[in-house]
C-alpha cells in the first residue's frame, strides 16, 4: 500500500486519505456493531446474575426471626411469587395462555404488532405535526414567542389523565374522517401527544442552526424563505431531527402502551400487561414475559431509527450528534 505521507502530490494524497478513512469507517462500523451486541449480551447476563443472587440471598435468610433477614423485612420479598425464577419466565412464553391455544410468545408477537401499528401511526403523525410546528415557529418569531410556552406546558399534563378522554372523544365524536374511527387510532393520538414535542423543539433548534454567513449567502442569491428552508435550514436540521426521532420513537411506544392501559383498549401489549397484572398470582412469569416484549419493542424502534440516521447522514458525509 502507498504511504500517504510519502506522496507529494496533494491531490493524490487527499484521495488516499479519503479512501483510508472510508475503509476505517466501514471497519469501525462493523466493529462497533459487534461490540454493542457483545456488551448487550453481557449486560443481560449481569442483570440475570443480580436477579438470581438477590433471590438466593433472600432465600438463605428467609426465617421470620433471622438477624440477617433484610430482604423481606426492609427490601421487597424474593420468593417465587414476587420474583419468578428465570426459567419460569421463559416457560411462560412457550406455554399457551389459560383458555387459549398456541404459545404465549405467539400471542405476544401478535399483540406487539398491534402496539407497533399504534406506535408507527403515532410517530408519523407526531413527526408531521412537530415539523409543521417547528417550521411555523422558525418562520415567525411572534409565533415562537407566543406558542413555545404552551407547547412546553402541554407536556406537563399527565398522559395517563388525558388518555381515557381521548378514547371517549374518539368513540363519540370523531366521525369526519372517510374511514371508521377505531380505538387503536385514539391510542395513536395519545402517542402523538408525546412524539410531536421533541420533534418540534429539536426541529426548531435545527432550523435555526445555520450560521449567519450561510443565511447571508442565501440572501445574496435573493433566495426567499421557502428556497432557504429547503436548501439550507432543513438539511442543516437533519442531525437535530434524527436525535428527536430517536426520542420520539421510544416515547411513541410508551404512549401506545400507557394509552392502551389507561384507556382500556384491547389487542396490544398494554392491555396484555394489564390483564396479566390482574391475574398475577396464577402466573407471575406471564407478566414478566409481557414486560420483556414491551421493552424489546422499544429497543427495536430505537434501533430502526438509528440505522436510518446512519444511512442518511453518512451518505451526506456527516456524523450524527449525540
Amino acid at each position: 500500500m502507498t504511504s500517504v505521507t510519502g506522496t507529494a502530490d496533494p491531490l493524490v494524497r487527499a484521495q488516499l486519505l479519503r479512501e483510508q478513512s472510508a475503509r476505517a469507517d466501514r471497519r469501525a462500523t462493523a466493529g462497533r456493531v459487534t461490540r454493542q451486541v457483545v456488551v448487550f449480551g453481557l449486560f443481560m447476563v449481569a442483570i440475570a446474575a443480580v436477579y438470581i443472587s438477590y433471590k438466593a440471598f433472600g432465600a438463605a435468610f428467609d426465617h421470620e426471626q433471622h438477624t440477617w433477614r433484610i430482604i423481606g423485612s426492609y427490601l421487597p420479598r424474593s420468593d417465587d411469587l414476587n420474583m419468578p425464577p428465570i426459567p419460569d419466565i421463559f416457560g411462560a412464553l412457550t406455554d399457551p395462555l389459560p383458555g387459549e391455544s398456541g404459545s404465549m410468545a405467539g400471542t405476544l408477537f401478535g399483540e406487539a404488532l398491534f402496539t407497533l401499528r399504534e406506535t408507527v401511526a403515532g410517530f408519523v403523525v407526531g413527526v408531521v405535526l412537530g415539523l409543521t410546528l417547528a417550521i411555523a415557529l422558525a418562520r415567525s418569531s411572534f409565533l415562537e414567542r407566543g406558542l413555545t410556552p404552551y407547547i412546553v406546558a402541554s407536556q406537563t399534563i399527565p398522559l395517563i389523565a388525558i388518555a381515557p378522554l381521548v378514547v371517549i372523544w374518539g368513540r363519540k365524536n370523531i366521525d369526519f374522517f372517510p374511514w371508521e374511527w377505531k380505538d387503536w387510532m385514539s391510542v395513536s393520538i395519545i402517542a402523538t401527544y408525546l412524539t410531536f414535542f421533541p420533534v418540534a423543539i429539536n426541529g426548531l433548534r435545527g432550523l435555526k442552526s445555520p450560521r449567519p454567513e450561510n443565511l447571508e449567502l442565501m440572501e445574496s442569491y435573493a433566495a426567499g424563505w421557502t428556497p432557504t428552508l429547503w436548501r439550507l435550514r432543513f438539511p442543516a436540521s437533519l442531525p437535530y431531527l434524527f436525535a428527536a426521532f430517536k426520542l420520539a420513537a421510544t416515547a411513541s411506544v410508551i404512549g401506545a402502551i400507557v394509552g392502551e392501559i389507561s384507556a382500556g383498549v384491547g389487542g396490544g401489549l398494554g392491555r396484555r400487561i394489564l390483564s396479566e397484572a390482574l391475574r398475577y398470582s396464577t402466573g407471575p412469569g406471564r407478566l414478566y414475559a409481557s414486560v420483556a416484549f414491551a421493552a424489546l419493542l422499544g429497543i427495536g424502534v430505537f434501533l430502526v431509527i438509528t440505522a436510518v440516521e446512519q444511512l442518511v447522514l453518512r451518505s451526506q458525509g456527516r456524523k450524527a450528534i449525540t
Binding site: 487527499a14 440572501e219 437533519l238 451526506q316 458525509g317
Partner: protein
Amino acid sequence: MSAVEIRNVSKIFNRGRANEVHAIDDVDLAIESGEFVTLIGPSGCGKSTLLRLVASLLSPSEGAITVAGKSAEQARLDQDYGMAFQRAGLFEWRTVAKNIELPLELMGWNRADRRRRSAEMLELVKLPEFGDHHPAELSGGMQQRIAIARSLAFNPSLLLMDEPFGALDEMTREHMQTELLRIWEETATTVVFVTHSIPEAVILSNRVVVMSPRPGKISEIIPIDLGERSDDTREDPEFFKGVTRVREALRAVEGL
C-alpha cells in the same frame, strides 16, 4: 459606467435608541469596471458594513448606492454580484460540486448545464478532482477556493469579498492571493475586497481605501501601481513603498 457608485452613504444602526451606532458616515466612492479595490481599516471602521451595503444585505440610512447602473437592491435581485465570506461557509451535506452549483440551482439552470459549469469552476480554482468530495475532506484553503468558485459560478460582473483569507495561515494566504489575482485577470471581474492585512491589500489592489472608525469614513484612497504581478512582486521596492504608504495612512487613522 462605474461598476459601483456609493454616494453620500451613511448607516446608523438602532437609530434613536440607546444603543444607536453610527457605523458609516457620508461615504463617497466610485469603483470602475474591472478594478480591484480593497477596504482596509481598524476594527469598527465599518468596512464590512460598507460591503454589506453594496451587497444590499443592509440598506443605507442616507445616500444611495448603484451597482452596475441600478439600485443595489435590484442588483442583488438580478444576481449581479457574487459574495465570499471569512468562513468558506460551504454546506457540509453537499458535495463540493453541488456547493458550487447551489446558486445555479436557485437560478433554475438545468442539471447538465450546472454540471458543466461546476466542472469549469473546479478547473478555474485548480481543484478539478474534488467535485465528489464533501467539504469536511478539504483543507481550509481548498474550502475557500471552492467558496470563490461558488461566488463566480454564475459569472457575476462584481465579486464582494469579506476577509476571505482571514482564517488561513500565512503561506496558504499568499498562495490564495496569487490565485485570486490570476482568477481576477482571467475573468475580468470587478472586486471589492475587505481585509485587515496591509501586504494583502497592496499586492491585490489597484486602489486601497483606508477607513477610520467611529463613525466609519474614508480617510484616504491610495492608488497602487505594481503592473503585472508575479511572485517576485512581493520583493519589489514598489510593493514595499505601497505597504509603507498604507501603514502610514492607517497610523494616522489610529492617531499613533
